[in-house]
């Protein structure tokens, strides 16, 4: 099956190509089903190919495809190891469900087939990223998912906000990519290759001095861009302008986790730089609490989920920064399940409310759309970290690992714990505001449960969110064993073996989650006037959170506006004035000299004749006088 692995990328790519050129001849639902079939088949191929890993038999293998840039040793090659397999399964699995959901969600859109073209293209790009056998090919996927993100955020191109958000996402990502690219330069200059195997084998001997730290920090910049970490997270909330399935697939489940994946993949490099790892963890922790606090006060249902995603990505960074790679990947996986579920549920709600996203105008939807409500409740509980749902296990493992690491990580652990509390609070707030209480929507809205094609993926994801955490519990470390071949020779931070400590830590986690959830329920179960007063009592903090700390304005004031001023000065003063002025100045000087001697040219041919004759006389005289 491994020989057919290329099909995993080729199928969605082919689907995208087919829909791109012939999509307009395919009627509406069919094109969506085609796209879903493409990625679904990819899932099955990947699943079959991954069987040997489940059996714990196979070694990672590299599958060459063709030469790409031989001067850099960068070729198209796939690496099939447990980490890649897991990522592939998550991407294709969750991706398939979201594809199916989108068939319902995008119903009636005039560019229906185009949406699925881009969605399939995204799947192919993301799979390229995770299956890549070297950093160059990873970078290919890395940039292509950025492209798809751009295309899909800006899918409703007639909305100026969507177009601006798409551009912002791409540009901010590019800033991260710059760091990543410089990291790649250092990698290439150090190892003379991009291939994982070539780099990791020689990491110990080549990474001297601060090289590992440099690479680690530069990769962190790239990862922070893609995974929306401080200070580059600002694009993700805006990215919610895209259709909701896009938010679920790209901006929750898959693309944004690429940064985590890269750091996990580069574990053999981070092995040699505890400093960079610590920075990764610190950035993650800071982002986690920062974004969680913003999520508390958002009114837009998708914005809450967006900041929640940023926060959860911070958790993953916290894990991989603590070298708890398995925990990070584990959380990546469970997060993909429950956050996709939450986004799709939010999409279902938005769909039902005729594109209303303000939670203040929702409420009481439980009865109108029970399936969505229940599945979202499962997702919310999973996110909050209530056992035995998926989020509990992964989050708890991260916190436990950080605690076990000790030192500075105690501090990070406390931040994580507080974040867990905030998380439970805001997601409960979201669910209560949307589904409970009195209806706050206008009469004509007519909310309704979504069609089967949308609810079935919700149910499937809810099931995954429910049981997904069981793959790696302290009682049964299936995932850890599964991933072992990918992290051979890398130190992995584990939670402590001491069952008592473990139990206390778990208890604290549960306590934080329960406290947050309980507070959220109690605060928002009450009538609107009461919870409004509750929010007002936190002023001015609440307002700051609602404004997301004004970071966008800050960036605008400190970077965008001065940047534009600079560009204008360069273009209109310096370039037009100085550089081109010098050029035209030379022209003017020459013309001035011409003006000075032009009276000599009277225009009378006989004047010229006299000069001519005089000249001839001089020449002849000179010759007669003996020449030279």
């Amino acid at each position: 099956m491994i020989d057919l692995l290329w099909l995993v990328i080729a199928l969605p790519l082919g689907g995208a190509a087919f829909l791109h050129f012939f999509g307009r001849y395919v009627r509406e639902p069919l094109s969506g089903w085609l796209a879903s079939a493409a990625i679904g088949t990819a899932f099955f191929i990947a699943a079959i190919a991954a069987v040997p890993f489940f059996q714990g038999e196979a070694e990672p293998s590299t599958i060459p495809i063709w030469e790409w840039m031989p001067a850099l040793g960068a070729n198209f090659e796939l690496l099939w190891d447990p980490l890649a397999a897991l990522m592939t399964l998550v991407v294709t699995g969750v991706g398939t469900l979201i594809h199916v959901f989108a068939i319902g969600y995008m119903h009636g859109d005039e560019r229906f087939h185009r949406f699925f073209t881009n969605l399939n293209l995204f799947a192919a790009s993301m799979l390229t990223l995770v299956l890549a056998g070297n950093y160059a090919m990873l970078f290919l996927g890395w940039e292509l998912v950025g492209l798809c993100s751009y295309l899909l955020i800006g899918f409703w191109h007639t909305r100026p906000t969507a177009a601006a958000a798409a551009k912002k996402a791409f540009v901010v990502n590019r800033i991260g990519d710059l760091g990543f690219m410089i990291g790649l330069m250092v990698v290439f200059a150090t190892f003379s290759t991009f291939s994982y195997s070539g780099i990791f084998e020689r990491a110990g001997e080549e990474l001297t001095g601060g090289l590992a730290t440099a690479i680690g920090l530069l990769f962190l910049v790239g990862a922070a861009g893609k995974s929306a970490q401080i200070p580059l997270y600002v694009w993700l909330p805006d990215a919610m302008e895209g259709p909701t399935p896009v938010s679920a697939l790209i901006h929750a489940a898959t693309m944004v986790t690429a940064g985590v994946y890269v750091i996990a993949r580069s574990a053999p490099i981070y092995e040699f730089t505890p400093f960079a790892s610590t920075v990764v963890a610190s950035v993650g922790a800071l982002t986690a609490i920062w974004a969680a606090s913003i999520a508390l006060a958002q009114r837009d249902i998708k914005k809450v989920l967006a900041y929640s995603t940023i926060s959860q990505l911070g958790f993953m960074f916290l894990a991989v920064g603590a070298t708890a790679y398995v925990a990070g990947i584990f959380h990546l996986m469970t997060h993909a399940f429950f956050k996709a579920l939450l986004f799709l549920g939010a999409g279902s709600v938005i769909h039902a409310m005729s594109d209303e996203q303000d939670m203040h105008r929702m409420g009481g939807l439980f009865r109108k759309m029970p399936v969505t409500a229940v599945t979202m409740a499962i997702g919310a509980l999973a996110l909050a970290g209530i056992p035995p749902l998926a989020g509990f296990w992964s989050k708890d493992e991260i916190l436990a690992a950080d605690f076990a690491r000790g030192g500075w990580f105690y501090f990070l652990w406390i931040i994580g714990l507080i974040t867990a509390l905030l998380t439970a609070f805001y997601i409960t707030r979201l669910w209560v505001l949307v589904f409970l209480g009195e209806p706050r929507w206008e009469e004509k809205a007519h909310p309704h449960e979504s069609p089967r094609v949308m609810t079935l993926p919700l149910i499937a994801l809810a099931a995954l969110s429910f049981v997904g955490g069981l793959v790696n519990t302290p009682f049964r470390l299936t995932l850890e064993h599964f991933l072992e071949p990918s992290f051979e020779g890398v130190h992995i931070q584990h939670a402590t073996d001491d069952w008592l400590t473990l139990a206390i830590l778990a208890g604290l986690s549960i306590l934080a989650a329960a406290a947050g959830a309980g507070a959220g329920y109690l605060a928002y179960r009450r009538p609107p006037e009461r919870w409004r007063r509750f929010e007002d009592s936190f002023e001015p903090l609440w307002g700051t959170w609602e404004q997301a700390y004004g970071v966008d304005d800050l960036y605008g004031l400190t970077l965008v506006t001065p940047g534009r001023r600079l560009a204008e000065a360069a273009a209109f003063s310096f370039d037009a004035g100085v550089v081109d002025g010098a050029v035209n100045g030379v022209g003017r000087v020459v013309r001035g000299m011409g003006d000075w001697i032009r009276p000599l040219q009277t225009g009378f041919v006989r004047n010229y004749g006299v000069l001519f004759l005089a000249g001839a006389v001089v020449v002849v005289a000179w010759l007669v006088a003996g020449g030279s």
């Binding site: 009378f604 006989r606 004047n607 006299v610 004759l613 005089a614 006389v617 005289a621 007669v624």
Partner: protein, 174 residues
């Protein structure tokens, strides 16, 4: 002796013609003066045994070219006489100065200079070597100078074409 007499007569004719060209106010007279000069120079060619060139001078120059001149004079108008006074400032002053310099210089060179008109001239003239018969001219013309000859053919063609284009120019506009 014959040569001396012919030289004196022809030289006088040529100078007289030249002066007429310059001084005559009516271009017709100038043309007649030029004709005289051309004939006189042709005589000097014959004296120096340049038979073919003399013949060509008479046929082409005195014949064809002068006819062309006369045609153009007729076309433009015979009655267009030129005023004597100069209207370019200082033109005559400059011309006079340059001419004076030339004459003074020539006189100076002739009187004081150790000057040979034709520096490498050898003694007695070999009549046969410079006898410009048709055959004698034709031989170098079609051997050593054949490329130049072809080039002049091209030049004449272009000149004819150019003259036609220039003449057509006005008609197109009308």
């Amino acid at each position: 002796m014959v040569e001396t007499i012919l030289f004196v007569l022809a030289a006088a004719g040529a100078l007289a013609g030249a002066v007429t060209v310059v001084l005559a106010r009516n271009p017709i007279y100038s043309a007649v003066g030029l004709l005289g000069t051309l004939f006189s120079v042709a005589v000097l060619y014959v004296v120096q045994l340049a038979h073919l060139v003399a013949a060509v001078q008479v046929i082409v120059y005195a014949g064809a070219v002068m006819t062309l001149f006369l045609f153009v004079i007729m076309l433009i108008g015979v009655d267009k006489e030129e005023k004597r006074e100069e209207n370019l400032p200082r033109q005559r002053l400059w011309v006079g100065a340059v001419a004076g310099v030339i004459i003074l210089f020539a006189a100076g060179v002739a009187v004081f200079g150790d000057f040979a008109w034709v520096p490498a001239a050898t003694g007695p003239v070999d009549q046969e070597a410079t006898n410009g018969t048709v055959q004698a001219i034709a031989e170098p013309l079609f051997t050593d100078w054949v490329l130049a000859f072809e080039a002049t053919a091209l030049l004449l063609t272009i000149a004819a074409a150019g003259a036609v284009v220039l003449a057509m120019f006005r008609r197109k506009r009308n």
